[in-house]
């Protein structure tokens, strides 16, 4: 047996989750599920970076509150974001009085942090762990692309970075959806050089993790109520369906992509949403709600991340992708 899939014996619970999004995202398809919609992108701060940091702080506090815990009950924080040196998470962690573990999986950070946190909780070392991740359209644009006011056109394959933060509390005790399995992904690179086509760069990573997960757990796509990728977007999710079909596995109607679903058609986001915040906010609002209602019994959540940097891309490197998968099941008494 290969060991990239972990089956959790104690099945850590997600006892609280919180999502916060920007105004544009607040008009998207999931608007009634979010906990808080900001009135503008600055969130009362002077710079967008500070706004992103404040979003993380708000999300962490919100998740702890919704879990009906006190800040002193939290043992450790696992967080990450898109900015260089993951400053938003690290600087936000200054505000809290618990240890901090920074993770970077680009847009896959939510699943990575939940997988790491669940492993730590399941091992019995910690009781309550907060996971958090965020992205901000304006900070990501200025780091990866062009200034906001530059009058250029976006290529048709590009995606829109979601302004949003999602956070959840993983705990040994309490009631909530259970994290039952996690598959840690390999870095996969199939040689896509176009940095505007992240969906195509990340789809092979999703395929790799998905295949490993099905093989290790002896499950098929029909065993899940929902198989959801993070931000492959419209193009990337079509590619993933094609790639899986080549391998003889058919992804049916229960497959979906957060980025593709996130925005409405008239919001001009081309291939859909992207960024850490995209799958983090959908997971911590919509998917959590449906799991708590019992509408979904078993969800396979596998966000993908493009591990690129502008320096590496300018040196002609292709875009590597990574994908971590977690299985979350509805709580049963």
């Amino acid at each position: 047996m290969k060991y990239d899939t972990v089956k959790f014996k104690k099945q850590p619970k997600i006892i609280g989750s919180y999502s916060i999004v920007g105004p544009k995202e607040g008009q998207g398809n999931f608007r009634e599920y979010f906990d808080y919609i900001m009135k503008n992108d600055f969130f009362g701060e002077k710079t967008f970076e500070k706004a992103e940091r404040k979003m993380i702080e708000t999300a962490i506090t919100g998740a702890i509150q919704k879990a009906k815990l006190k800040v002193s009950d939290i043992n450790i924080l696992v967080a990450g974001d898109l900015l260089n040196q993951i400053i938003s998470s690290s600087y936000a962690a200054r505000a809290f009085d618990f240890p901090y573990l920074g993770v970077y999986g680009a847009c896959s950070t939510m699943a990575e942090s939940i997988a790491v946190a669940s492993t730590l909780v399941d091992g019995g070392y910690f009781e309550n762990i907060v996971c958090c991740t965020a992205s901000h359209f304006s900070t990501a644009e200025r780091q990866y692309r062009f200034p906001l006011e530059l009058g250029n056109q976006r290529p048709p394959a590009s995606q829109w970075t979601v302004t949003g933060a999602g956070s959840c509390v993983i705990s040994q005790k309490g009631a909530g959806p259970r994290v039952t399995m996690a598959t840690f992904g390999k870095v996969v690179d199939w040689g896509i050089v176009d940095v505007n086509n992240m969906g195509a760069a990340m789809a092979p990573a999703a395929m790799d993790t998905l295949l490993a997960h099905f093989e290790n757990t002896k499950t098929t796509p029909d065993d899940y109520d929902l198989i959801v990728t993070g931000d492959l977007g419209k193009l990337g999710s079509e590619i993933l369906i094609d790639l899986m079909e080549d391998k003889g596995i058919k992804l049916g109607l229960n497959y979906s992509d957060c980025g593709q679903m996130f925005f409405r058609r008239n919001q001009n986001t081309l291939c859909g949403g992207s960024g850490c915040g995209c799958c983090a906010t959908v997971f911590n609002s919509y998917i959590m709600k449906k799991l708590q209602d019992g509408q979904y019994k078993r969800v396979l959540f596998l966000p993908t991340g493009a591990l690129l940097s502008t320096t590496a891309s300018q040196q002609g490197e292709s875009v590597p992708g990574v994908c971590h998968a977690i299985v979350v099941e509805a709580y049963e008494m």
Binding site: E49, P147, L148, E149, G151, I192
Partner: protein, 153 residues
Amino acid sequence: MKKNEERIKAYNKYVSAKVPKTKPWPTLFNSFWVGGVICLIGQGINDLILFLVPNISEQSAWAYTLIALIFIAAFLTGIGVYDKIGKFAGGGSIVPITGFSNSITSPSIEFKSEGIIYGICVKMFTIAGPVIVFGVISSALVGLIYYIIYLFI
């Protein structure tokens, strides 16, 4: 390793067939008419200057026209309108001098938060820098060619 390269080739071929393409005709139409309108505005300003100030030389009227266009574009960038024009028109609003103005103003606004020296002054030319470099080099080259031709006439 060879198998890997083949896979990369095959996958890239598959993706480039799958990727959505820009529709050329509507895009070209929009960029040409917006670009034309910008030029028309420029000509209008030029004619107005010549009409209002009859003694002005044509050369300096041109200079004032350019200054006016640069100011208008910078102003529109500042109030957040120029990027919307650019999104609609593409090359139509990048190629005229207004696009150049926008490419300097927009990083200046963006990096204001890093301070005047390290933010605005350093980042101001991140987009326009190559244009300036190639502008200077090509004008020097053209000047040289002009000089050599002039020697023989």
